[in-house]
Each structure stands twice: as C-alpha cells, then as structure tokens.
Amino acid sequence: MVRATVRWLASSAALLVVVTALTFVLTSIAPGDAATAILSSQSGSYTPEQVERMRHLLGEDQPLWARYGAWLADLARGSLGTDLFSGQPVTEIIAARLLPSMSLVVGTVLVATLVGTWLGAVSARRGGFVGRLVDVVSLLGFAVPSFWLALVLIELFAVRWRLFPPGGYVDPRDDLGGWLATMTLPVVTLSAGAIAFIAKQTRDAMSDVLAQEYITMLRARGLSERSIVYKHALRNAAIPVVTMLGLTLVSLLSGAVVIEGIFFIPGLGERAVVATGDHNLPVITGIAFCFTLVVVTTNLIVDLAYRALNPRVRHS
C-alpha cells in the first residue's frame, strides 16, 4: 500500500513537471509575446526600446530554463505567479473559476454515467427493437454538435418557456437552487455526447458479461432478470465504463470551453483561451497545473474504483 502510494505520488509529480514545462516551451515558441501584447493593449504603438524594457520587466529576456526554475520556486512557496496585465494572483483567478468548471464537468459526468449506463444496460438486456432504438438515440446525442444543441435548448427552455436561465453561474453556497438552474442546460448539452459513448461502452461490456456461464447459472437459480442485470452483471461490466468516465472527465476540462462561452459561465477553459491569446504565461501555466492536478486525481479515483469493483485488482 505504501509502495503504491509512493509510486502514485512520484508519477503524479513527474506528470505535473512535464505538463508545466511543456506549457513554458510551447508558449515561448508560439508567435508573439506578452511584452508586445501588454504594450499594444495599453498604448497601441510602441518602440523597440519599450518592448525590450517590458521584456526585461517580465523576465522574458531570461533563458527559458531560468524562468521555469523561478516558476517552480514560486510554486514551492505556494504561489502560481500573477496575471501579467492586472497583477491579480493566479491562485485567486483559479479559485474563482474552479468551482464553475468542476460543476459543469462533474455534473456532466454524473448525468452521463446515470443515463448512459442505464441506456446501455437496457440496450444490452432487451436487444431487438428497443435495443436498436436506444442505439439510435445514443448516436444522435453523439452526432449533434454541442453548440447547436446549446442554442436550441436556450431558445426553447430559457427564452420561450422561461424554465431556466440562458446562462450565467450562481455559487451553490449562495443559492443551491440557482446553481442547479444555471447548470441544467449546460450539463444537458455536454452530456448528450458523453451519454452516447458511455451507453455504447456499457452495452458492449454488458453483452459480453451476459453471455458468461455464471449468468446462465444465476438464471437457472431463479434470480430475476432485473437482479441479474443490475446487481451482478453491471458490476462486472463497469470496469471499462469507469475507464471511459475518467477519459470523459479529462476531455471535458478543455472541451467545455465553447459551452462556457455560450452560457457565459466563468470557467477555467474560457480563461485559458483568453490567456493563451494574450501570452499571459503565469495564467496559462497555472491553469495547466490545475488541470493536471484534476487529471491525476481522476486517475486515482478510477484506480480506487477498479479495486472496489474487482477483488482481483484489490488483492494484486
């Protein structure tokens, strides 16, 4: 157990270093730089001398390894640097936007899990017309562009029927009902595609499990089909589904940026896009660091779920 923990910590730390170092490298080779971005936003025109002075102020005239080292030193002190334009600490920027992003992502994964596994189980159990109908509905969710679905949902449920707000975000600590209301349409939008993936994965895994001999034995013992499917088979079919859920969550971290824009949710994805265009390196690196932490945490949860679902993994 101790060895596994140490291994996990070491691999997570290595991943964090690789991702943040890559962020530095990629930002430095992208066209433009923060110095010209700041000067053009402030005054529009600037001289080469002003650019050099600004680059010196920002430390951009230092070698890349030195700047990365300085960032790591700040990290050791609990700081992710400050926004190059406003001076706001990156930790504050992330703190303000993490909950909206995670609300969207985790909410989507939860909804997709519940609906996707149910659809997949129904499809595997019933087969025939019902199974094919479930397949078509799932695929529709995958095929429909999320931005189009978002606009349709907003027009119907927000503008015409006034059931939900068209966007924005309410902190659940201030108003739980408001938070649910603002999250409903974006989560439904993002879930549509994820449900299709999970339903398909669940159906395939369930089909394999339901063909196993021990299932035949359970039927022979007189257990109800519902009990066989949901109590015995689903548990064994869940492992590949759990893998899919982990991948879905990770992809949603950055994939939700379009939905964040349409629903004007103050998320990290949207902030990262703006920071990238501005070459705002501290913000970009801080968000990349945060996303990587979410990824390693997700992997840990997935591993723990494997152990809970599969005794063989638990004892290996």
């Binding site: 971005a37 053009s40 406003s86 927000a158 966007g167 408001g178 649910l180 009990s227 004007f264």
Partner: protein, 512 residues
C-alpha cells in the same frame, strides 16, 4: 431490497434537484423594484487601472472614477469633479479647472488640486492608450482647488479629453497613486460607485456598490451595478430577452432580432469601419506608396453592397473617416469614391500595376470586420488585387500585429472623435494607427492650423484635414454604423446622439 433503497434515494434526489432548479429564479424576470442594474459589455478588460485600460472599457471606469467633466447624452458638457473650466489666452495652450468642494474618494480621502496633478502625471507616465492626449503637458496646482494645464502646442479639446469617454479624466485617489499595482483589480475613485472585489470575478462580472463618500447621493440610483462580460452576441441578446441583464452593448448582427424582441435599441452613427492602408511609404508593399493605387482601392470598393449585405438597416456607405454631423465631415465628399471598377483599373495602370498586386491584411472579428475583409477580397480581385486575410478571434493578438507594423494594411472600426484627438491616434507620425510612422508635412500643417483655430473657425479647419485624408486615400472607409445599445423596459435614460454616441451609465435610471 438494497437495490430498491438506492433507487428510491436516487429518485428522491432527482426530484428534489428538479424542484430546486425549477423554483429558483436567480436572475431572470426581475421586478421593477429591484435596484440592481446589470449591463453587458462584450470585451473583458485586462486591467482596471484607468491609466492603462483601453477606451472600450469606459463603462467599467466611469462608475468608480467620476471624470472632471461629464458629457451628457446630447453632447453638452456639465460639471463633474470640476465645477468650472476655461482657456486662458487665445492660443488654446492653457486650460484651467476649478474643482468642486467637498469631494471625497471611496476611501474617504479628499480631492485636492494636487491629487489631480498627481493623477494626470501618473496617466502620462503610465503610457496607456490615452496618454498621448496629455503627453508633454505641465500640470500645476495653483491653489487647493485650481489646476492649470499648460500644453506645449495648441489643444482645443481639453474639455472633451477629460470626460468619461476617454477615461483619464476620472481621477484616481491618493491611495491608488501611491501604489498603482492595486488599480489592476480594485478602484480608488470619487465616482458614485466603487468596485466590490468580493462579488467580482475578473473577466466575467464586476460588481459595483454605492460609494459612501460620494458628494451627490441623489445621483446614486442603484443599490448594485453589475457589469457582465458576454462575448457571444446571441448570448447577449438572450440575457436581455430573459431579464438576466437590463442594458447591453449590441452588435450589428443582432439589431433586428433585438427590435423584434421588443427591446429598446439606441444607436447614433459613430463608427467608420474599413481599411487602414498603413504602409504608405511602400516599405512592405511598394504599390501603396502611390496615391493612385490607394485611390484605386477606394474606387474598387462597392460600399453600398457591403452595407446592404452586412449592416442592413443600420449601416451606410462611408467615404470619409468621420460621420455626418461628426467632426470635419464634408458634405461635398459624401460620395468621394463612387464604385467604379474601370476607374480603379485605369488608376492602377497609370501607377504601373495593370495586373494588380498582393496585399496582406489582418483583421479582428468584432464589428464584422472580418466579413468586410472577405467582401473586399472579392471586390478587389476584379482589379487584380489579391487580398490575403489573417483573421484573429483574439482582439489583443490582432492589435499586437496591426499596431506592431507586421502588416501593410489592417481592418479597423474607428469612432469619430475631435480632429485634434484623432491626429495622435490615427494619422500623425506617432499615432497607434500609423505603425509605419508616415510623415506628411501638408497634413501636419493642416492639423496644426485646426489646433490653433478659434471655436468659430475650427469646423472649417477640421474639414480641411478630413478632405486631405480623403483625397490622399490614407484609408478605405467602407461603412459607417452606430454602436447599438439594447435595453429592457425596466430602465430609462437610454439616449445617444451624433455628438455623444457612447451611452452614459450616469443617465440610466429605473423606469419606475
């Protein structure tokens, strides 16, 4: 049994969640007695520092930083933090302000003439977008309430520069001037409101609450003002239609939908959109050095077609870098470059480019500038000009490359402003919109004459400047539009005019 218990628990949770979500009305359909004003801006500020922020962030600044002089919606000026002002002498170089008594900043500190001097000095030193309007000036605190500004050259537009439209007239308090690093994320002003950082998420929404030290409490109409940043035009419209917002900066693409939705739409002609032919010396594209080539591009532009296609009902052809009733507008040049492909080809041939040439251009995506560029590419192809478009969704990236001189031409939307102010921004050697630093002695002389002119003579001098820019074809103005604003019927005071096309937050009051 266990399965049934779990299923029941899940069902209860689902129903409870739906009930909570359905019962909640966080921001929609607010009633008339709600004293929260929500306005939508489409561009997020990179900083809240008044000396460094861009002009399009004026709303975020005017709430907390009342300017020395306030421009009303009809274009007339009224006292702000200054109760009176005048020029000394007749050469427009010395401007004197008398400050209002009893003004305090949001932290309780007093407004004095020295504070104003320190503020103006900081504005110049910070080197922001508006700094050139005050560069080289001397600022003096004559006494505790009197400030004298002495300019090295005539400046007839001090009163306009010091209004809320250009932000820098909004005085920063001593605490902010002592530590400007705090100004990026908080406010230290003497305006009717102040920023509440605890209720603010930078880049998403900015919450303002009343300034307890404001000198005129009767002018504070709202308990809270929220400025929300929404970049998607359809999302802006949805926010208004559902009551999540009261007022918004509109977009030409959604004006018709806004009118159909029953929203108030206020718009006064303000912007000309078109091409800045920056490389007039021919450094990157030799052809642009010839005035005949630049005129040819103007003749090859079917402005009416672009206006009809992209700005139906809200835009009209522009031939000058100003608008009707705007500064320097010449009635005689209203149709300076009628669409004439043959004339364009003839001019190109005379200039030695019968087969045309290639021209790289950079454009942002706001105000449909990228779509105008695409239309121009098709039109100019008829005269052999191959327009190669670089299109940036990130406005800062576009600005860095356009103003950095990386392209011989760039698209822009430019508001009509006084000619004296237009020079340092648009066409003088150090102007941001003149990245190749073109120098033209004739233009400089015309500009200087206008700066020295008396108030009676200035309109004619301004027209001479615009006429020169038009005949020399420094630009290809394509279409002029207003800056539309949308509002719900819960508010009133939504007024703009040709003299003040920018909506002032000071005049917005509850409808009841």
């Amino acid at each position: 049994m266990r399965t049934g218990r779990w299923r029941n628990a899940l069902t209860v949770a689902l129903v409870a969640g739906l009930v909570l979500a359905g019962c909640a009305r966080p921001e929609t359909d607010r009633q008339g007695d709600d004293r929260t004003l929500t306005v939508v801006s489409v561009i997020a500020p990179q900083t809240l520092d008044p000396a460094k922020t861009a002009q399009n962030n004026a709303w975020l600044e005017q709430l907390a930083y009342e300017p020395l002089i306030v421009r009303r919606s009809d274009g007339t000026l009224r006292p702000g933090l200054a109760e009176s002002w005048h020029y000394e002498g007749d050469d427009n170089t010395t401007f004197v302000l008398t400050l209002r008594e009893g003004v305090r900043f949001s932290d309780g500190s007093e407004l004095t003439a020295q504070t104003v001097v320190d503020h103006l000095t900081y504005v110049v030193e910070a080197g922001g977008q508006m700094a050139p309007f005050l560069a080289g000036n001397t600022f003096t605190a004559v006494d505790d309430r009197t400030v004298r500004i002495t300019a090295p050259a005539p400046n007839p537009d001090f009163p306009v520069i010091l209004t809320q439209d250009y932000i820098i007239g909004g005085v920063i308090g001593p605490a902010g001037l002592a530590d400007p690093s705090i100004l990026g994320t908080t406010t230290v002003g003497a305006g009717p409101y102040m920023l509440d950082p605890a209720q603010t998420v930078a880049g998403d929404h900015y919450t303002y609450v009343p300034n307890p030290h404001y000198y005129d409490p009767s002018a504070v109409h709202w308990d809270t003002v929220v400025i929300r940043i929404i970049t998607n035009p359809q999302s802006v419209l949805n926010a208004l239609r559902t009551g999540q917002a009261d007022v918004a900066v509109g977009d030409p693409a959604t004006v018709t939908a806004a009118e159909q939705a029953g929203l108030t739409v206020a718009s006064a002609l303000f912007l000309w959109s078109g091409v800045v032919l920056a490389d007039r010396d021919g450094t990157m594209v030799p052809a642009l050095a010839d005035v005949r080539v630049r005129q040819a591009l103007n003749y090859a532009t079917d402005r009416q077609a672009i206006a009809d296609a992209l700005f139906a009902g809200i835009g009209s052809p522009a031939h000058q870098v100003t608008v009707p009733d705007g500064y320097g507008y010449n009635e005689s040049l209203a149709n300076a470059y009628p669409y004439d492909v043959d004339a364009a080809r003839e001019l190109l041939a005379q200039a030695g480019y019968p087969d045309g040439f290639s021209l790289a251009i950079v454009t942002p995506q706001y105000q449909q500038l990228n779509l105008i560029a695409q239309a121009l590419a098709q039109q100019w192809a008829q005269i052999g000009v191959d327009l190669q478009i670089t299109d940036y969704a990130n406005a800062n990236q576009y600005a860095a490359e356009a103003f950095g001189g990386q392209f011989p031409a760039f698209m822009t939307a430019f508001g009509h402003i006084p000619i004296w102010m237009q020079g340092p921004s648009l066409f003088l050697p150090d102007a941001a919109f003149n990245p190749f630093k073109n120098v033209d002695p004739t233009l400089q002389a015309l500009y200087d004459e206008a700066a020295r002119a008396s108030e009676a003579e200035r309109p004619e001098r301004d027209r001479a400047v615009i006429e020169y820019l038009t005949t020399q074809a420094w630009f290809v103005p394509v279409v002029m539009t207003g800056l539309p604003y949308y509002a719900r019927d819960t508010v009133s005071g939504i007024r703009t005019s040709a003299q003040e096309p920018l909506l002032s937050l000071y005049e917005i009051v509850p409808a009841n």
